[in-house]
Amino acid sequence: MDFDTLYAEDVETWAELQVDALRRLAATPGSWANIIDWENVLEEIESLGSEQRRAVESLLENALAHALKVVGDPNSLSTEQWKKEIARFLRQARKKIKPAMRSRIDIEEIWQNACEQASDTLEAFDRTLPDVPQRCPFSFDDLLDADFDPLRDLRLLAAKRTSRQ
């Protein structure tokens, strides 16, 4: 794959290749050694590589956290706002996500963070996180599906777990 395609489709791998080359260059003696601020240049290129993925991760985390709050506090008026935001976050995430991110996005970590975020908010107002599994019940493909409705799935899940008890 040439650099143009790689940059467009998988900027993180692109950045890794550039960082490799920069490191090799930094280790080679030459007149340039003192001109380049290696540490900061490397850091900038690394963060350029991961910033798109981080944006997607944070959108997914916020969408799931909102969904957990809606399920945990179904009767409040806040849910109307949260529902709108869930749809918006997921729409933005779908727009930004790229197939190359699949192997780099850690769904479990997103789920953990979403649960923490939701339970912090709910507990501050004397409500509790709904009974949901420790492991993320959604797959990468679920999250990308335009018909994905985390609310429906989470409600079903919470109901199933309650009836089993």
């Binding site: 260059l25 340039w32 290129i45």
Partner: protein, 171 residues
Amino acid sequence: MKSLYDTDILRWSEEQAAALRMLADADSIPSADWDRVASAIEDVGRSALAHVEDGLRAMLVQAIAGYCDPDSLLRHERNRRARSGQNEAERDLTPTIRGRLDLDRLWREAFDQAMTEIPRRVFGVPPGIPRTCPFTLDELLADDFTYDRAVERLYILLTSWRPKAEKDRER
């Protein structure tokens, strides 16, 4: 030792980008997307400049909108926007960025934006709005410069209106 990266990001990014482009032409350089790496480094400085411009423009938009529509219920909101614009401008301001700012251009852009923000009930735009920015950069960045101050300054600069305290002094 503090690097130029911490003290003058725009100059840092331009110097680093130039050095990387020079390197790219040298022999026995590992193969990489050097031109794009250089541009990415250049963008770091450009976006710092853009942040400062965005902040200052936001302040000017609020001042112009407040001058055209002084009784607006948005006063508190405009005050907040102007304050956050000032914070944004201060955060990334460095000597090199200072030298690149074109306040008159930002003023004209702010005017266009303010015209889209003032409500329709405001009939027409008041006369006398100058083509060049009536504020200096230092004035905009001063700690005690607020939205209310900005609007008042515009009245003093552009009309014969004076605050009461000043009139009393003149008497």
